[in-house]
Amino acid sequence: MFKKSILLTFIISMVITTNANAGEEVNVYSYRQPFLVKPLFDLFTKDTGIKVNVVFAKKGMAERLAREGKYSPADVLLTTDISRLIELHDRNLLQTFNSSIINKAVPNQYRAQDDTWFALTTRVRNIYSAKRLGHIDINYEDLADIKYKGRICTRSGKHPYNVALVASMIAEHGEAQTLIWLEKVKANLARKPQGSDRAQVQAIHQNFCDISLGNSYYFGKMLNDDKQKIWAEAVNINFPNQKNRGAHVNISGMALAKYSPNQENAKALMEFLVSKPAQQLYAETNMEYPVRVDVKPSALVASWGEFKADDLSLEAIAKHRKTALKLIDKAQFDL
């Protein structure tokens, strides 16, 4: 009986695995959590009748794409960080999208020079500070100040968001200075780097530390979460370096896969995501800054005030990424 049931499950499996592809569709490889973009995809499907298929993974997506080569089913790629876009670009996994709609909607600074990728939203690497410190005017450089000894919390130095920040420091101050800065910040940490950006805010709430690094949208998301609201209410969100080069900004972005089998649909999805209604929805649900200048961020995000962004090009940040990683290792930041 046992053997028969094995045989049976097997046969069923073979039938199930052969998936029929029917109708109009577009396939997305996503570094983003699918539930963050699902409302947008649903709207897109409603408007156009094109079905959106998603597979999500943070690790190894570029590798998978490369191995699949010209038979890859992927049409578009969604990422949460500039370095992943550059990696895809450098491995020759992208193609140009040639769209005047996208070029008009997305400012120059947030598009690849060769039209292979573009940003959908921007996010600031903020410095959160305990409310008990009152209003502070802070630069990333100040994190190395001895007065914060034992009062700073952060996630792993090797997280892409922190690596990009270190890369921007290298672009500004050079390698040697950045290493000294990293070592001093490391000496100021309240604990070994761990957890997520939200966990650091939680630690401030618990009086474990006073200062943390975190992306802007987490503040909004925590304020909208029953459990995390009290964490967020314990901190101020600060935009660093306002009196000099401006705050470090990263992007969530999109690109067209080199061997996209449904190019027309892919292009339709890309153009839809930079359209005004989509940008509006994206900004509202994810608390990020829309890349379109004519779409306002959500009321909550806008209430944090205007800020000056570092105008260093994203490609320059990506260029220093590997050096940044090496410096982080050298400073033994995570150990």
């Binding site: 094995i6 499950t9 097997f10 499996s13 199930i16 695995t17 998936n19 396939n27 959590q33 699918p34 539930f35 298929n53 998603v54 597979v55 999500f56 993974a57 690790k59 190894g60 997506m61 590798e63 998978r64 191995r67 699949e68 080569g69 038979y71 890859s72 089913p73 990696e87 792993s156 090797k158 690596v163 070994k192 780097p193 761990q194 957890g195 997520s196 939200r198 966990a199 939680q202 630690a203 709430h205 618990q206 009086n207 474990f208 459990k227 995390q228 590997k322 990683l325 090496k326 290792d329 050298k330 033994q332 995570d334 150990l335």
Partner: protein
């Protein structure tokens, strides 16, 4: 992989060596040693107490102690950190109660350390040692123990000098499984901010973008394991343990009241910390945050998980059976090789293994498509590397060690004389296997199937990377939520993972009673053993 590793760029390797690698390696070694020691202490002592003493609530504990196996380590890590962290309820209550203001006012152990990680991993992995050791104890020839007693050994001495050494093959298999699982772990150590060799593999591959160097590091990891396993095999190669009479009456050591209390609190602690507490936390969260609508939404996802676990478990067990019997019955001098080689997959981190699958099946798919084009058929696309075929294959490779280890330690318990006796009486090989080996192996087959099923249910990284479009399993779903600090919303899915892992355990526990009256001698005999195994 090794080949690619040798060609790795020396630069990056030098850099890593001068900065972080020494500390990663020492962390890896320490973690491995601590977890193995802890699981051995937990597993062997609980197995001994259950089999050899009159501990209270024995029948309940006997299978409660298996349950931690259904708990994914990363989940327990999240739950316990939530509980014991500075911001968690335990420390909050303490601060509130004693009016402490900051972390400097008092001492509390830090769970996010090497030791914390080792304890958490050991708590969910010790059932391997427990199950395999217990099976070994139960199948031991009691006459040997009795002979020991007659020669003047005390109960304790005869246990240490006879029962324990006899169980050594099983303990060794379990310990090497634990070691491999520990070394391949990424999620738990990452959450605990403990950097190991696996961290280095991911850093070099995903951070520095150097797959070759990552492979080199993975090869170092494999060497560690190779060394451990080979040393162990050498050590027991000369000793041949077989028992002829597995089902003789057992002598039970009578414990005093105080001993009983101590022994049962130890076992209850293991069951509590490894399963009951984390499971209760999940249920509380699920009640607070979930509703039935969410449950229905999770059902198709659950079906995907079951599907994958079912195929993986069944195929792995069949393969292990074939390999095991081949190794046992063949006279080929290389007969050990396939089994040994296939065992190492368990130590490869899931993501790295997934990459290897793409590297293997990618070209095959390309070849197939090329042929299809040539013969003007419709191109099939990525039918192997882009479907659940790749996932199942990856999981079979990963969990082959579990199936192989369990089956081969089961085979070791069958006396060699049985291989030849029936043949000498004129029975063919097929008949011998069917009537002698398979019935005797049934407990091991079931344990192997069960272990792989539970593991496949929990597996995350390989499924995450290899899955086709819109294909979610429970573990990918839960992972997405908890990696965004939304543990509460993931609780329901996590409960399903645990429950689905438990089902086969409970089912196997019930099964024997139903069959016992209606079947012939052989079946009766073997099912009784099943029951004892679980």
């Amino acid at each position: 992989m090794l080949y690619a590793g040798i060609n790795a760029s020396g630069d990056l390797f030098n850099h890593l060596w001068q900065t972080v690698l020494p500390s990663y390696i020492s962390n890896t070694l320490l973690l491995g040693i601590m977890v193995v020691v802890l699981t051995l202490v937990f597993g062997i002592s609980s197995a001994a107490l259950i089999v050899h003493t009159n501990i209270v609530a024995k029948n309940l504990l006997r299978w409660l102690l298996i349950l931690p196996l259904a708990m994914p380590a990363y989940l327990v890590a999240y739950l316990y950190t939530d509980l014991f962290d500075y911001a968690g309820p335990v420390q909050r209550t303490l601060r509130h109660g004693f009016n402490w203001q900051s972390p400097n006012d008092y001492y509390f152990f830090d769970i996010r350390t090497l030791l914390g990680a080792a304890i958490i991993i050991a708590l969910v992995l010790f059932p391997y040692v427990y199950m395999l050791t217990r099976t070994a104890f139960e199948q031991q020839d009691q006459n040997l123990l009795r002979a020991g007693r007659l020669l003047g050994l005390t109960e304790q001495q005869s246990f240490i000098k006879i029962a324990l050494p006899l169980a050594r093959p099983a303990i060794a298999v379990a310990a090497s499984l634990v070691l491999m699982e520990t070394l391949a772990d990424f999620a738990t150590v990452q959450y605990f901010a403990v950097n190991t060799l696996t961290t280095a593999i991911y850093d070099t591959w995903l951070g520095y973008g150097e797959l070759a160097s990552a492979n080199a590091l993975a090869s170092i990891l494999m060497l560690f394991i190779l060394f451990a396993v080979v040393t162990e095999q050498r050590a027991r190669a000369q000793k041949n343990h077989q028992s002829n009479r597995p089902d003789t009456e057992r002598e039970i050591i009578q414990l005093s009241k105080a001993q009983q209390l101590l022994a049962s609190s130890f076992c209850w602690f293991l069951a509590f910390a490894g399963f009951i507490l984390p499971f209760a936390l999940l249920i509380i969260m699920a009640i607070d945050y979930s509703n039935t609508e969410q449950l229905f939404k999770l059902l198709p996802t659950g079906m995907n998980s079951i599907k994958i676990a079912l195929y993986t478990a069944t195929l792995s067990t069949l393969i292990a059976l074939v390999l095991g019997l081949y190794q046992r019955l063949s006279t080929d001098s290389w007969r050990d090789m396939p089994q040994k080689i296939s065992g190492f997959g368990y130590a490869i981190p899931g993501t790295v293994l997934a990459m290897a699958m793409l590297a293997t099946f990618g070209p095959i798919d390309h070849g197939l498509n090329y042929l299809a084009e040539l013969w003007q058929f419709k191109q099939p696309g990525l039918i192997l590397s882009g479907s659940i075929f790749a996932i199942i294959f990856a999981l079979i490779v990963r969990f082959a060690a579990i199936a192989n280890g369990t089956i081969s330690s089961g085979l070791d318990q069958i006396p060699k004389s049985l291989d030849y006796a029936p043949t000498s009486l004129g029975a063919g090989l097929g008949k011998t296997l069917k009537q002698i080996h398979l019935p005797l192996l049934k407990p091991s087959i079931l344990v192997a199937w069960l272990l792989v099923f539970v593991e496949a249910m929990k597996e995350l990284p390989a499924v995450l990377l290899l899955r086709p479009f819109n294909f979610e399993t429970l573990s990918t779903q839960v992972y997405q939520l908890i990696s965004d600090e939304m543990l509460e919303q993931g609780a329901l899915g996590a409960i399903l993972i645990v429950l689905l892992g438990l089902l086969p355990i409970i089912w196997l526990n019930k099964e024997p009673k139903k069959h016992r009256q209606s079947t012939g001698f052989h079946k009766k005999h073997s099912f009784q053993q099943n029951k004892e195994t679980l």
